[in-house]
């Protein structure tokens, strides 16, 4: 056995170990995310219930705490119906694409400091997340088209128009952050925020944050931009014809989308897993708290914001939606880019 072989086998071993570690990480990440999704549905119903002076689920377990498990079991054992007139292969592929796009975006999100807390620490992380969220639009369009139902079709049409319009605003709003951080690596963006005394891009980039949050609502098809799945007019929008597990896949992926958008807001504008230096300077004990807690707190805040807005604001009309996207948010985002560039050019 010569040296080359030794190096080769240890290289193989190293590769296999890396592979297994990544697999384990993926399994852990997906199970934690799915748990979050389950309880995001539960807390959505609870929070909105209480905001509407109701109680929300109360029957399954104490205060309805087992409701998401009951819902999951129900949708798992439900009959899977494919409409006779549907385009079968596309119909079956659409939810898989949607779920795939939603879940893949999780790969680049850093939950805390260090490589251990991110599956793929790549330099185009931010771009990758945007790409995956627009890939999800294919799942929507395919579902709308293949169901062969007018409600699905209208929902799919609206969704594609809306997602494309707001993708632009979202990308533009993040350019300010990219300019300030000088990187598209999500970990580097968080580190760049630590360089400033305020520790959050939220403060200089408040315009970008506003545009990002509004665009995130539109991207995830949440109220007030839930036209693609407007329950009162399109029943459920593009996934009307889906039932059982396929329906659950759509439902789940929408919540994963919400989690991803919240994580992006937390990472790009709120300093991810870090606290602003002026706070940790004042109360040093806070820096002993694990970063993932701050990160989750920021994500939960944004998830709560999603619920809160849903309980408050009614749905926009289609033309209002387009006007807001193209005539308000896009100019604001462009203004933000110009101001950020000028300040960066002169201040450094």
């Amino acid at each position: 056995m010569n040296a080359v072989d030794m190096a080769g086998s240890s290289g193989n071993f190293h590769f296999i170990m890396q592979f297994i570690i990544i697999l384990v990480k993926i399994v852990v990440l997906i199970s934690v995310t799915l748990l979050h999704v389950m309880y995001a549905t539960y807390f959505e119903r609870k929070v909105i219930g209480h905001m509407q002076v109701r109680l929300g689920p109360m029957r399954t377990g104490p205060h309805g705490i087992l409701q998401p498990i009951a819902d999951g079991l129900k949708s798992f054992f439900k009959e899977d119906i494919i409409p006779a007139q549907a385009d079968k292969p596309v119909f079956m592929l659409a939810p898989i694409i949607f779920t795939f796009a939603a879940m893949s975006a999780l790969a680049v999100i850093p939950f805390s400091f260090g490589d251990w807390y991110v599956i793929a620490n790549i330099n185009v992380g931010l771009l990758y997340v945007l790409a995956m969220s627009s890939l999800g639009a294919y799942g929507v369009v395919m579902a709308g088209w293949s169901s062969n139902s007018k409600y699905s079709f209208l929902g799919g049409l609206r969704a594609s128009a809306q997602v494309i319009s707001y993708e632009v605003c979202m990308g533009m709003s993040l350019i300010g952050v990219i300019l300030m951080a000088g990187s598209m690596n999500l970990t580097d963006i968080v580190k760049a925020q630590q360089q400033h005394w305020y520790g959050m891009f939220l403060i200089p980039q408040f315009l970008g944050y506003f545009v990002f949050v509004v665009a995130a609502f539109a991207e995830t098809n949440r109220t007030p931009f839930d036209l693609p799945e407007a329950e009162s007019e399109l029943v459920a929008g593009y996934f009307v014809e889906y039932s059982g597990m396929r329906f659950a896949l759509y439902y789940m992926s929408e919540y994963i989308g919400m989690l991803i958008m919240s994580s992006m807001a937390a990472i790009c504008f709120m300093g991810g897993w870090t606290l602003p230096p002026f706070i940790t300077g004042a109360v040093p004990i806070l820096s002993a708290v694990p970063g993932i807690i701050w990160f989750l707190g920021k994500v939960y805040f944004h998830i709560f914001l999603f619920y809160w807005i849903r309980a408050t604001v009614p749905r926009y009309r289609y033309d209002q939606l387009m006007a807001l996207g193209w005539k308000v948010l896009l100019p604001l985002a462009l203004l933000n880019i110009v101001v950020t560039s000028i300040v960066k050019f002169f201040v450094g």
């Binding site: 929070v47 219930g49 209480h50 905001m51 509407q52 002076v53 109701r54 109680l55 109360m58 809160w308 807005i309 309980a311 408050t312 604001v313």
Partner: protein, 202 residues
């Protein structure tokens, strides 16, 4: 657009106000009633499950005149009678098909003997139709269960005054007493056209 309105629009004042409201409401006490545990008390006079009233001696007040069955718009009451030994009417069967009833209360109103009642009980859903087909015994049992004692008397007094209490018998026909019996010659009657009355008015 004034500067005020402009500022309102830019800072999304209306939306923020709405959000403040929903946030406050989140801590308000929910109005939900947890039904099977937390039951609402029925108002007196609620029109629920049917019952046949009993006399003091324990027999049914119903004489079998059939007015309730005649007035019933959903035709869910059927009364079968036969002639007894001393030419009295005997109620053989008195049946109410509860599932067909619309709870209008006409039967109670029509009854001249305060014999049929609608109780405050409303939780009687069941898996079979047979349970909800009420014969005379079941209806009498309902009276004992939900209307016995003072409650039943109050029920008729407050909500279903029989007509006989508001009318008095004239020599040849019934005359309305106007609930308080005011007619007895007190107020001038508009319908009488006396020549004096006319001249007085002029």
């Amino acid at each position: 657009m004034g500067i005020n309105n402009f500022a309102k629009k830019v800072f999304l004042l209306e939306i923020l106000k709405g959000m403040a409201l929903t946030f406050r409401m989140m801590f308000a006490k929910p109005v939900t009633r947890q039904y099977p545990e937390e039951k609402r008390e029925m108002f007196p006079g609620f029109r629920g499950l049917h019952a046949l009233a009993r006399k003091e001696d324990g027999t049914a007040r119903c004489v079998g005149c059939g007015l309730c069955a005649a007035v019933c718009p959903s035709r869910c009451i059927s009364v079968y009678t036969s002639e007894g030994d001393d030419h009295t009417k005997i109620v053989d069967r008195y049946e109410i098909e509860v599932l067909r009833c619309v709870y209008c209360g006409f039967c109670v109103e029509a009854c001249p003997f305060k014999a049929v009642a609608l109780t405050g009980h409303y939780e009687y859903s069941d898996y079979s139709r047979a349970v909800l087909f009420m014969d005379k015994d079941k209806l009498l049992a309902n009276w004992d269960k939900y209307m016995a004692g003072k409650k039943g008397e109050e029920y008729f007094k407050r909500f279903w005054r029989p007509m006989s209490e508001d009318f008095k018998a004239h020599e040849d026909q019934a005359v309305f007493m106007g609930n308080r019996g005011k007619i007895e010659g007190a107020a001038p009657d508009k319908t009488t056209h006396s020549p004096e009355g006319l001249s007085n008015a002029a």
